[in-house]
Amino acid sequence: MDDHGQKLSTQHLQAWFGAHLALKEVSIDIPGNRVTAIIGPSGCGKSTLIRCMNRMHETIPSARAAGAVLLDGRSIYQQDPVQLRRQVGMIFQKPNPFPTMSIIDNVTAGLRLNGLRDRRRLEEIAAQCLQKAALWEEVKDKLRYPGAGLSGGQQQRLCIARALAVNPEVLLMDEPCSALDPISTSKIEELIHELRAHYTIVLVTHNMQQAARASDQTAFMYMGRLVECGETRQVFTTPKAQQTEDYITGRFG
């Protein structure tokens, strides 16, 4: 589990929305069991990049991608996207629990909708995942209550628990804290730190402090290109590219 070899990598990845080229030849390596932060100004393609990693990008009409994305050395474009997404989970910017489902049903949605019916087993998994997502203590007495009744920060941890329930290897987080208050944010960051032991995490963030705090490796993107990628400490203290330095020192973006 402490293998830090390449879990996920992209090679000359390009992505389009209609005629607009949003990713330009991005090649990045994501090491296993580490947190990789992707930073950059709005519209630089960081969300598009991680949405290519679980093939959510192509669910948008008129969107397409070219180049290679390798998971454990295998091209994800030769795999069934539905299977792939169970291996590569995703957390979205805005917490999006299923409004018609209770807390426990939200957590087990991925399993139930794929045919697992054993109630005992489902409850076990739900409890485990809620514990892993550091939500168990807050919701253990109201598992049958609607998931939408939780606070924003709790909802986001519920979504993390839901993603964990299908037993993924990689977690893609698309600005998971941007809709949350500072306390919820710090809880999620702690959680990211703990989850790192068992999952490979890609964290897209607007917040440079968050990237500095929570990640092992940081990638800086600008205008659809990967400008720089390296150890977080190195990127923030001695960036190689002038653009990176300008961005992290607040000169633009």
Binding site: V82, M90, N96, F98, P99, N114, G149
Partner: protein, 283 residues
């Protein structure tokens, strides 16, 4: 400055007042109709009205059991035809409606929605009644289904479109196949609005008269045969209301009251279904 502030206040007040007046004006017909119907119709509403057959002219009492059952049967037939088509069509439009066929289907449904119901009656007369050689409950149900189908279809589409895109993404990102995402997440999330639309469409067709005139025709006797003419509440009301006999006119008032009652119950039911669930919190 002060003057402007007062002016704004005055405009605010007068606009609110105008909106309130308009609302009242809109409600007045409803209140008048309900009160009038209650006053005229309530006197002969009793158990017999729901369980007995119409009496010949001159004999008091009797009911509209056959018409009530007829309306239920024909609305049932219409629903059985229109519901699957409307639901699946609405799903198609909300999911694949951006294509050219989607625009065509949407346009066709809107046109169909706008066709006067008597035209639909004549159409079914020509296509079902004439070839089969007689009026029938089946033809009545088909005519009603043609009115119902585009209503359900467009409403289903609108309700499905209201489901936030984020929920589809959430489901897809969990490795749930597209079709299951549609059935188990999107449809389920929109179900309240869809059910409301269905109930409102039911209420609407339950009161349709014109399309039944040329299809189900009406029947003074007890009949459950779908290939024979059948009574229906709106038809019975129509026949009785234009008759010269006082007892029949009285029955027509009561029939109208029952019909309104059915519509009110369906509306309340739909309201109840879309009620916002109380989110429980324990402090």
């Amino acid at each position: 400055m002060q003057w402007r502030y007062h002016m704004r206040k005055i405009i605010d007040w007068s606009m609110s007042g105008a909106a309130m007046m308009a609302t009242l004006c809109g409600l007045i017909p409803l209140i008048l109709i309900s009160m009038h119907l209650l006053r005229r119709g309530i006197s002969s509403i009793n158990l017999d009205f729901f369980t007995h057959m119409p009496q010949p002219v001159g004999e008091p009492g009797g009911g509209m059991a056959n018409a009530i059952i007829g309306t239920c049967l024909m609305v049932g037939i219409a629903t059985a035809i229109a519901l699957p088509i409307g639901l699946l069509g609405g799903l198609y439009l909300s999911e694949f409606g951006e294509r050219r066929t989607g625009a065509a289907v949407r346009f066709a449904a809107d046109m169909l929605n706008g066709i006067p119901s008597i035209v639909i009656g004549i159409f079914v007369y020509g296509f079902v009644v004439v070839p089969l050689g007689h009026f029938s409950a089946m033809a009545g149900g088909i005519a009603l289904s043609i009115i119902m189908m585009p209503m359900i279809l467009r409403n289903t589409e609108e309700m499905l479109r209201l489901v936030p895109h984020a929920l589809r993404e959430a489901a897809l990102a969990l490795g749930i196949p597209y079709w299951k995402t549609l059935l188990r997440v999107v449809l389920v999330t929109a179900r309240r609005g869809i059910v409301t639309g269905i109930l409102l469409a039911l209420a609407r067709i339950a009161g349709e008269t014109a399309p039944l005139l040329f299809t189900a025709l009406g029947n003074q006797f007890w009949s459950l045969r779908l290939d024979q003419p059948m009574a229906a509440l709106p038809l019975q009301i129509f026949t009785y209301a234009i008759s010269p006999f006082e007892e029949w006119q009285q029955q027509a008032w009561s029939g109208a009251l029952v019909l309104i009652g059915i519509v009110v119950i369906l509306s309340l039911l739909s309201r109840w279904m879309v009620r916002v669930p109380q989110v429980k919190t324990d402090g």
